[in-house]
Amino acid sequence: MNTGARGALAAHRADAIMRAVFFGCGLFSILITVGIVAVLVLEAAPFFKNVSVFTFLTDTEWTPLFAQKRFGVLPLLCGTLLTSAIAMCVALPAGITVGIYLSEFASPLVRTVIKPALEVLAGVPTLVYGYFALFVVTPTLQILFPSLPGFNALSAGLVMGFMILPMVASLSEDAIFSVPKALKEGAYALGASKMQTTLSVVVPAASGGIIAAVILAMARAVGETMIVAIAAGQQPTLTLNPFAAIETMTAYIVQVSLGDTPHGTLEFHTIFAVGLALFCITLVLNSASLLLRRKIRRGHG
């Protein structure tokens, strides 16, 4: 009996210890966020001591690596938004259409083929897409537009669109699939066809979830790095011309990381200032998408 009681005691002690260990694992994720914010803020601080936040956000030129230094993030931001916008032009209509198709029309057999294939498309490393954009897509586009430079926003944006398409498709499929069945049945009972039900009842009911998907895809496009670093160029330009060579925020960070900028210089701290701006943009987009999805889930539940 005594050994049994001791065994039970040991088991309970192990239980308490493991509980604490797992709690630690859970808390660790918060530490990562704290680490990211701390590093970005502390390392961007020396930059903002020399350059005011106002100049950073409003100056129209970004030339920290030149003799004539200007520190306006707008050209980088503009490059980021330009490539993201091109990507969304591809991924939005195509992705939402595929999402509707997969959720409402595709047979189970077709789904089991298409879904893993789209996952492969989403799982290809972005470096590979960068290679493809620079050496295949750009030369092809140059046949159509002979004046297109070797590095341009168009090619990078288009390829990024294909990369993001599966994400938009899968998230909007989930949103459409979670529309209550009663809504659909009501529409059918009123004599609506499947197509009518889908377009005028199901998709509007899922619109919140689809918007959340789109915002999440936008955040992904803004933070995408290798495609734009390889194929879009390294020329910070304040332009909305898709045929121009530009530089995105992420590509700038890569450019400085590859160079031999000494640690501690103002040039070095610029990457943390740009990183902080990038982090803020994606945080706002991700949070908006998350809150929207939570609200919808509560509404359906």
């Binding site: 493991m18 509980r19 195509a94 509707i100 029309f105 290679y131 955040a219 990038l278």
Partner: protein, 295 residues
């Protein structure tokens, strides 16, 4: 039948017949988009193989980097990538599964749990390049690991941690509740029930998540470059604190060079990366199919 059209089209024989047509049009359009996307993927893979296959010879896999493109090999990069995967497996997998177990099995429904969940969802959306900046300060400078394979592996571990947590939670959620209750009813402690019953049942799902996390980690380039990974390393890492290069970094380095011969090398390195990734993906698909059949 009058020919006046109204905003709400009346139910006529003609438009009952017309309905399936709009549906098949939509299906055809969707399939066109899907085939377009898959064609894009096929062209990408075929083009890379065409570009890279000429370099697929033993000396390419066993050779070290060289200024002469035809003599350059990927051995140090290949070993570097293997080291990185090993470090990710050691750090990210236990941490990720642990966090998932806490959230699914222990966590009370309170603000802290809600905050942890929100935080993980947000971490999953942080651009990987930001993790590179964190790795540069935290591992390379503060911890003093320099630009070693350990710093790189730890940085990648942070990148894929949310992927593992999210997948492992889903796997745990799919384990039937009756299993836990049965174990507890027989007098098992919660940890015994988790260790002996819940985790073994969730293993295939967790494994699928880990494979996806590895396939993400093996192709990640941006965080390693930002962390300061060197692009020219002639030897394979021998200790966790050795300097390293990895397949995607080596490929990126070759892409950035002006000579076409190096682009061939890049295509070959990327082809190898894609073969590994496709293998990972196929394993994950098979595992998942088996899981679904069992459920």
């Amino acid at each position: 039948m009058s020919e006046i059209s109204t905003p709400h089209t009346p139910l006529t024989r003609r438009n009952i017949l017309a309905r399936p047509q709009s549906e098949s049009l939509f299906v055809a359009f969707s399939l066109l988009i899907v085939s377009g996307a898959l064609l894009f993927l096929c062209v990408l893979i075929v083009q890379l193989l065409i570009d890279g296959l000429p370099r697929f010879e033993l000396s390419f896999f066993t050779g070290t980097p060289s200024r002469i493109a035809e003599r350059a090999g990927i051995f140090p990069a290949l070993m570097g990538s293997l080291w990185l995967m090993g470090i990710v497996a050691i750090f990210a997998v236990p941490l990720g599964v642990g966090a998932a177990v806490y959230l699914e099995e222990y966590a009370p429904k309170n603000w802290l749990t809600g905050f942890i969940e929100l935080n993980i969802a947000n971490l999953a959306g942080v651009p990987s390049i930001i993790y590179g900046l964190l790795g540069l300060q935290l591992f390379v400078r503060i911890c003093g690991f320099e630009r070693s394979v350990l710093s790189g592996g730890l940085t990648l571990s942070l990148v894929v941690l949310p992927v593992i947590i999210i997948a492992a939670r889903e796997a745990l959620r799919n384990v039937p509740k009756s299993l836990r209750e049965g174990a507890l009813a027989l007098g098992a402690t919660q940890w015994q029930s988790i260790f002996h019953h819940v985790l073994p049942n969730a293993t295939p799902g967790i494994l699928t998540g880990c494979i996806l996390a590895f396939s993400r980690a093996i192709g990640e380039t941006a965080p390693l470059i930002t962390m300061g990974a060197l692009t020219y390393v002639a030897t394979a890492p021998s200790t966790p604190l050795s300097a390293f290069t990895a397949l995607p970094i080596q490929a990126f380095n070759w892409i950035s060079r002006p000579q076409a011969a190096f682009h061939t090398n890049a295509a070959a390195a990327i082809s190898l990366l894609l073969v590994v990734l496709l293998t990972f993906n196929i394993i994950a698909v098979i595992l998942r199919a088996k899981l679904e059949r069992r459920n």
